[in-house]
Point group: C2
Chain length 341, copies 2
């Protein structure tokens, strides 16, 4: 922390502390002569303003918090990259908070939100009803909040958000399978308690229904968004008496686990089982076989959501809050083929 204060600089430059402050924050309001004097003094002392004092005085920290369920997921990594990049150009630092919002109590969420000295919050996580309440309250107290990636629940409809059309994307993935002739299509979704992949499940169900294809209840299993969870889910699927010919995984992380488990069981992909993922993380193209998946413009989502937050911080609540839908894309690689039978 800086050990020389503005007073010392003022003393050396023989001006008031107000002038030193101006030289730093509004140099155009100061004579060139004075400015040079002060800049010399700053250089001499190695002065840099005490950020804590500045933040306190200005009532803002230039830190934003992003809340997400899993920093380890490469998809979120990519979103974070976009956020960071936008944050940097806007002069913000980013505080990352890894939390399962849906498992927290109202008090815990409240504590987290106020206890962090941030100018605004980006939510990449889905919320429990609890959380929703708290959020609305905080938001009314002018803590700017923006939601990314996840489709917002009705209660959160008045928050700005940026995401793809998850339902349409999941439908597209499922329809691709159907168009190839698959009839027994399973799905590995995220977590029961989380909204994170709920819309993808909805899209899958909608596509199946539209094609008049039945869904065996045993085909829709929870994968916990992790490799391990997906492996377990896949084992269940493989031993099902009405075994599916294709599996739609709600994210690539799970698709990687699924792929490995199917192959471990002695079946071939896509020869015996087709697999399709979601997100297009960087590992998707180097799996064996390379993974067919839905790609999201992760970095772009990150950038947009950060810019959105900045607008909210600067302009207050005057900004629009309609969701911003960004385009997704079906990326066809080699983990999907026509069904064997």
């Amino acid at each position: 922390m800086p050990d020389v204060s503005i007073k010392e600089v003022a003393r050396i430059a023989n001006v008031s502390i107000a002038t030193v402050s101006r030289c730093i924050n509004n140099p155009e309001k100061v004579t060139e002569k004075t400015r040079i004097k002060v800049q010399d003094a700053i250089r001499q002392t190695g002065y840099s303003p005490n950020r804590l004092a500045q933040s306190f005085r200005r009532g803002r920290t230039n830190i934003v918090m992003v809340v997400l369920p899993s920093v380890g997921d490469p998809f979120f990594t990519a979103v974070m990259k976009g956020i960071k990049s936008a944050a940097t150009t806007k002069g913000y630092s980013v505080l990352i908070e890894e939390t399962q919002l849906n498992t927290m109590t109202a008090d815990e969420i409240g504590a987290m939100l106020v206890s962090n000295q941030t100018d605004g919050i980006i939510l990449l996580a889905s919320m429990s009803p609890f959380g929703t309440e708290i959020l609305s309250a905080k938001s009314k107290r002018r803590l700017p909040i923006v939601i990314g990636c996840e489709t917002i629940s009705p209660e959160l409809a008045d928050f700005p958000s940026v995401h793809i059309d998850n339902i349409a994307a999941a439908k597209e993935a499922t329809n691709y399978l159907i168009s190839l002739g698959h009839k027994r299509i399973a799905m590995i979704y995220g977590q029961e308690s989380s909204l994170l992949t709920k819309d993808r499940e909805l899209g899958y169900r909608a596509a199946m229904k539209q094609a008049k294809l039945p869904i065996d209840p045993g085909w829709v299993v929870e994968g916990d968004l992790t490799i391990t969870g997906a492996r377990k889910a896949t084992r269940n699927l493989m031993s099902h008496n009405n075994r599916p010919t294709a599996i739609f995984c709600a994210n690539d992380e799970m698709a990687i686990g699924c792929l490995h488990e199917v192959k471990s069981s002695g079946l071939r992909v896509p020869g015996d089982i087709s697999i399709i993922g979601f997100d297009d993380i960087r590992y998707a193209e180097v799996t064996d076989p390379p993974l067919t998946t839905i790609s999201q413009p992760a970095e772009e989502i990150g950038e947009r959501v950060m810019y959105r937050l900045c607008r909210r911080i600067d302009a207050g609540h005057g900004t629009t809050s309609s969701p911003e839908i960004v385009p997704h894309k079906l990326v066809i690689r080699q983990s999907v083929a026509k069904p064997a039978d």
Copy 2:
């Protein structure tokens, strides 16, 4: 941000602001009667202390910054998990700064370090000589710094650090290959400009030398720590006129790219080429074949380095600064076999 200040609470509870402050920070110094009065007032108003004011007043933020080259690398994710966990129990928030310290100028590094309002810094990135100077300066001004994962360069020897013995681990990996009969062993290292995998290269060279095995200069190639970089490096290796029978990759991320590229070229792993990685990230066990690698106790490193930093923050410079070496382990899976010839 809180909109009700300590004054309001004091007014309602009919006490001084000093007493309100005591109720929150030193409740044992206050009569039970007073305490109850104040707590009621706090509940009534929904008061929570302004963290900015607290930080400013106390001269500390309870935020630590961790600087790392790539948040996306699952290894760092695992380290971060340990850091977060320790930070939470110690009451700290974590600010993540993704930066290639070795490509920054002295001014940039200096700006980054002072401009962030943090109580201490964890470095998971290697430093340029520039950075080293700055760091020493900052450290002398009592900004606590602790180094994790990477072997520290001589100039940084007086900083506390936590890491495995990278040289020994790389030797072990290479010796394992040698013990199986491999003689033409290549290595894909990180970045020319980064120290991050330098010690692993040293270990590899030491093992080869000890076994009196020559190293063709074309066998040691840069992989940029990324999948893409490793794929390119592998293509070079595969077209080398004196093609290696085994490849040691300085991290698993690159090993994944390497594996994919070798298989794409029509060769089998480990039948034709053996591959060994480093880190044991969570994807290592689901590659095809599962990856033999060196595992680091990533989470433990994270925890220890955070606790180390806490001690430095609390105790000042009185703490020991000898490096803390944690154990690594060779994890044998299926990407390595005896050479074909």
